[in-house]
Each structure stands twice: as structure tokens, then as C-alpha cells.
């Protein structure tokens, strides 16, 4: 269960240290991701050129790899940054957008996981299921309850590759292969705004940049997402408003708000 005081302390640290988050991410969400990172108090940088990615990662406090609009060149850049991050002990947060949709995506996920050893992976249930199938080479879909299957897949994957795995959904699950934590905040309208998942990944990166415990960083990131998104959605008549209100809530988030809204 989440310790609200630890969450508050970590959010204060993010704001105080304003960690540089290097994002190699997709073309759809770059603006939102950068704005969410600024709103929470971090410093975003987006850079993908092979000629500079490693240099950029070197000065960052966390690296986000998001394959939403991947191509061969971008995957090369991700690998280069990932290896630098591994060398420098910089946490990597991997977002396997669309895993399972095409063989190319699955191959790239496998390669990135093997080459870059992500610290944390965040996806929705079907993406995590696809990853685990790709990685562990078993199908494993025996239950009819998708979220149970996905949690099972997440645990296996986390153990197999020694990462923390996060499944976003109505309830978010965070697991290191043994422990499981849940985040119950959020609002279904969030799924109707493009890139909210990608934003979660970037927000987790902020917490991973200032907390060496990936399980807690993931938990704190998802809690902040869920709370800001939930408050924003309650004040939104549609998805346009939600995208705006979410940034406003993230920008204004106080310890009082966190305490009042957290669902334990």
C-alpha cells in the first residue's frame, strides 16, 4: 500500500531537483509529454539524432524510451542511449506502445529489452501480455480475466528481466515479480485522450530520477497520474478539456490534494 508521506516527499524532491528527463518518444505525444514534465517540475529534453543521443543521455537523470512511432533509425538511437544509460546507472523507463500489433514492433521490443535492460516497463494489459509472450515464448492466456492474465504476465516478465512492470488500467498494477501494488485513482475518460499512457511513463521517469527504488518510483508516478487525471476529468466536459485540466492539476498539485484524493 502506498505511503502518502513518501509520495509527498518524492514529489517535493522532483520539484526541488528538477531532474533532466531525456525522452526518445513518439511524434504524437511529444508536446504533451514535455508539458507534463514541465508541469510537475522536471526538465524535459527530446533528442533522437544518433550523433548526440548518448551525449544527451549522459547528462540526464532518467531515460524514457517510447516506441509509439518507431522506425529502424529511432530504434538504433534508443539502443545507443540505452547502453549509455546502463553504463552510467541512469534508470530507463520503457513504454512498449502497440506491442503485439505488428511483428516488427514485437521484434523491436525484444531487442530493446535485451540490449537496454529497462529499469521499469509501463504498458496497458494487452501490451504487457504481448511483451511477455515475445520474451518468455509462452502463450499463457488461460484465464478469461484479462487483468489477471496481464498481472500474471507482468510478474513473469518482471522476474525474467529483473525489472519493475506497470500495467495501466482501471486499476494500475505495479510489480517487481514478487510484490504487487495497486493504484485505484484515475478516470475512464483518460483513455480517450491520446498519450495519457505515454505521460504516465514520463511521470514515472521523474520519480525514478530521484528515488533509486523502481517499485516505489513507479507507484508514486502512477499515483500522481491517477490523482491529477481524476480531478481533471471530474471538471471536464470532454477530452479537450481533460487534456488541459490535467496539465493544470499537475502544475498545482499540493500535498493537501494528494492526501485528500488518494484511494488506498
Amino acid at each position: 500500500m502506498i505511503n502518502i508521506d513518501f509520495l509527498i516527499k518524492d514529489l517535493e524532491l522532483v520539484r526541488k531537483q528538477s531532474p533532466l528527463i531525456h525522452n526518445i518518444t513518439n511524434l504524437v505525444v511529444m508536446n504533451n509529454t514535455a508539458n507534463a514534465l514541465l508541469a510537475i517540475g522536471a526538465s524535459p529534453v527530446m533528442a533522437h539524432a544518433l550523433d548526440e543521443v548518448a551525449d544527451m543521455t549522459k547528462i540526464a537523470s532518467a531515460l524514457v524510451l517510447n516506441i509509439g512511432t518507431l522506425d529502424v533509425e529511432l530504434i538504433k538511437a534508443m539502443e545507443r542511449s540505452g547502453k549509455m544509460a546502463n553504463q552510467m546507472n541512469i534508470p530507463i523507463i520503457f513504454d512498449p506502445v502497440g506491442a503485439g500489433a505488428t511483428p516488427f514492433r514485437d521484434k523491436c521490443c525484444k531487442r530493446l529489452i535485451n540490449e537496454c535492460k529497462p529499469t521499469i516497463i509501463r504498458g496497458n494489459a494487452s501490451e504487457i501480455l504481448a511483451l511477455q509472450n515475445t520474451q518468455v515464448q509462452t502463450k499463457g492466456v488461460d484465464s478469461t480475466d484479462a487483468s489477471v492474465d496481464a498481472l500474471d504476465a507482468a510478474k513473469k516478465l518482471a522476474k525474467e528481466i529483473k525489472s519493475t512492470v506497470v500495467i495501466s488500467g482501471d486499476i494500475d498494477f505495479i510489480t517487481d515479480g514478487e510484490k504487487v501494488a495497486k493504484v485505484k485513482n484515475g478516470n475512464p475518460m483518460m483513455e480517450k485522450v491520446t498519450g495519457m499512457g505515454c505521460t504516465s511513463t514520463a511521470i514515472i521517469a521523474c520519480f525514478a530520477a530521484i528515488n533509486p527504488n523502481p517499485f516505489l518510483a513507479s507507484l508514486h508516478g502512477m499515483a500522481v497520474m491517477g490523482i491529477a487525471g481524476e480531478i481533471a476529468a471530474e471538471n471536464s466536459k470532454g477530452t479537450g478539456s481533460l487534456q488541459l485540466n490535467f496539465l493544470d492539476e499537475l502544475y498545482q498539485l499540493t500535498s493537501t490534494t494528494l492526501k485528500k484524493h488518494i484511494k488506498l
Copy 2:
């Protein structure tokens, strides 16, 4: 003239089936396009890598090709997806952004039209005029009334390539070369928000995904755009508000709103 009951039925179908729309589109509008598709109830995917575009198109219900920020590699990806769409009988909606601005753009338009046989083409008057000139190799600008010229060009183009052609403007025209339909909804402020035209193209794709009649799909798409945009603009003090309100209106659109606002 539009049949409002058919429009309502088709909007319900879009929401019920949530068709996957594969977009190979420009860098300026990706976020807006994805959000508009989500707001209306469809499922957007943006993917452009040569290694996966055909696989992505294969699982989609419609393909959007938009050349706004084209380059040679992107055109190759569009061709590959377009051929798969043709094979699988998936409708292609082509947006010739900036046609006529450079020789390269015109050459790419010609190539895409010839290689991919788009089901529907949507552009503004000058883009459609440029396309028709490129395609049919006649100048044909005899009248001093641009919209008459453009409609004439649209008809010729539609006949020549056996497509439905849509001209966006104060009044939108839809033609299959014989029939012409008009959409009178909309607001001039919409032109001052980047990518509203591109959004129209994607919204048409939603209707083409669930209605095999490209003429009706285009008519329904443009009517929804015009109505949502018109209501949004009336409540906007500027273009920032309009971009947001448009998504909110699209998200909230009911049959009552459609009936109340449609201009026949």
C-alpha cells in the same frame, strides 16, 4: 441533401464498432488527429515505418494518407500501405496538403493517386485545383469564381480516377463526379486552427470504415466536422479555445445536437 437519420445511424456505428484508423500523416497534426478520432469513438494508430506499415494497414478499417510534412521515405511508406489497403479492400482517404506549392508535392500526389487509388480525396479549393491540373494535365481555370472552378475540377478528378472528392470551404462540396452534395455547417474561425482540414479527413475515414458508400461517408464526416466546429467556435473567444472546444463537442455529440444544428 443529407439524411439526418442516416448520419445519426452512422455515428452510432462508429461509436459501437470503434474502427481502427491507420494514419500516415503529418507531424503538425498527429496529436489533434488522434484526439479527434478518440473523441468521436474510433481507435487511432499512427505508424510510418516501412517495416510495419503494411502489417498495420492490414488490421485497420481505413487508411489516412496525409502529405503535410512529406519526405521520400514517408511517400514510400504510404505507397506500401496503400497497396495493402487496395488488396484488402480497405478505404483510403487521401489529404493532398499543400498540393500546388512545390513540384515535389505535385509529383508525390500524382504518384500516390496512381499507385494507391484513393477512395476519397479531401482538400481545399486550391489543393483540388492543383491536383486536377497535375492529374488531367489541363489548366481549366476559365471562371473567375474559385469555388465554381474547384467544383468543376473536383468533378473531373472524381470521374477520372473514380473517387469521391471533397472540397472544404465556407460551404463544403462532395462529389463522385456526377452527384454533388453540400455541407453548410462550419465557422470561418476553423481555418485559423492548424489541422482542422486534416481532422476532417480523419473523421471522414471513420465513416468510410463503417459505410461502404464513399459519397455518404464523406458527407457524414463533413457534416459532423461542420456541426462540432460550428458549436465549438460559437463558444470560443479565440483559436486556442476552439481547438479544445472542438474536441469536447465531438466527444459529446448527440443525435439531438445533430438534428438541432444541421443546415440543410
Copy 3:
């Protein structure tokens, strides 16, 4: 000191002539930049393909080069457009995003400055300091006051390369190497919205397109940014609102508002 009547006259000219601004810019801000250009009354075009950039620049009234998400191909496109702009006497406004962050960025800045001879350069203090170091090959950071250092660097750089240099910050400085003008409008929250600097660069381009004096164009562009941003921020509870309100303010800006809010 700024002459408010000249500013009003130039804003009217921008709206009347609606100059075409060719942007080769970064992936994070394309949508915002296009919307800001539309809101102020200009016509944006984003195009980066080697096969068409020169043709696009040829028909534009100003060229924006912004290296935010640069790569080798993009720099080639910038050079090609830059040379065409030089030939045609079209003003180039250069935004050295992230200068100093990586050796690759510094090398590209140096190359673009030497090959394209920008008319105006706009950056924050650290970017201008980085440029001047790259260019003039001296470190020059003797003072402990960053803005004094940066202004000193800006003056040297402006003289060395015969450009106007703009430093954005709490107070903006504009210099041609001799004269220095200040813009005192603005709000610190603007730094927390991604791409506000990039938008400044594009807004300056609008004024450079209609005023042959780069010093005045820069001054007018920064004044409009500062005033619209300041009013927008005062009505925003967070950065999501600010991004929207800024576009609304830009769209609505009147001579009365300019006169009322300008800080001399």
C-alpha cells in the same frame, strides 16, 4: 525604447499581408508554432524534405530554422533552405534550441550560422552564451551575473556575424551589437509551457517578413509575445490553460490592449 505606434502599424501589416512563414522546426512545437502563426494572422508552412525545402523557401516571406529535435538530414534541409533564403533576400530567424547541451548541437549551430547567415538569432541566456563560445572561441564568463554575461555574449555575437541577437528571459534583450532594447512584458509561468521560446522565434519571423529592419522586427515580435503571454498567464491557473489562453490573446490582440499593457 519601443515605439508603440510602430508596433501597432507592424501588427496591422502582419494581419493584412498574412506573410507565408516557412518553418523547419522541431517535432515538439510544430502544432503550437503553426497555431500561433495563424492566431497572429500569418500563414505557416512546415516542410523539411530535401526535395522541396528550397522551393518552399522561395515562396515564403521569412524562414525559421529551429534545431530542437535536429538530426543530420534536417540540418542538410536547413542549409539548403538557408542558402535559398540568402539568395532571395528572405530573412532567416534561427533558434539554437539546446545549444551547449551536446557537441553535435554546437557543431550544427556553427555550421548553420556560417552557411546560412541568419538575420536574427533568438535563444535563452545559456544558449546565446554557448553560441558565442562556439563561434568566437572564447569563454568570456567572468561575471557572476548570467544576464550581463549573456548580453555581453549577444553583443559580441551580433557584431561578429552581423545579425540581430535576442535573449529571452525575465527581461528580453535585443541587440544588433551596438544598440540594446529591452522588453519587460512577460510572466515566469511562460517558461513552464514547452515551446514558448520557439513561438517567440516564429512571431519575430512574422515581423521580419514585413519590416526590413531586423532590430525593430525582433523588438516588435518579443513585445507581442510578452504582452499576449502576460495577459494569458494572469488568467491561467496552470500551464495547460496558459497554452490555450496565449493563442486566444494573440488572436484577439488589439491596439488598445497593446497600449494598455506595454511596459516601457
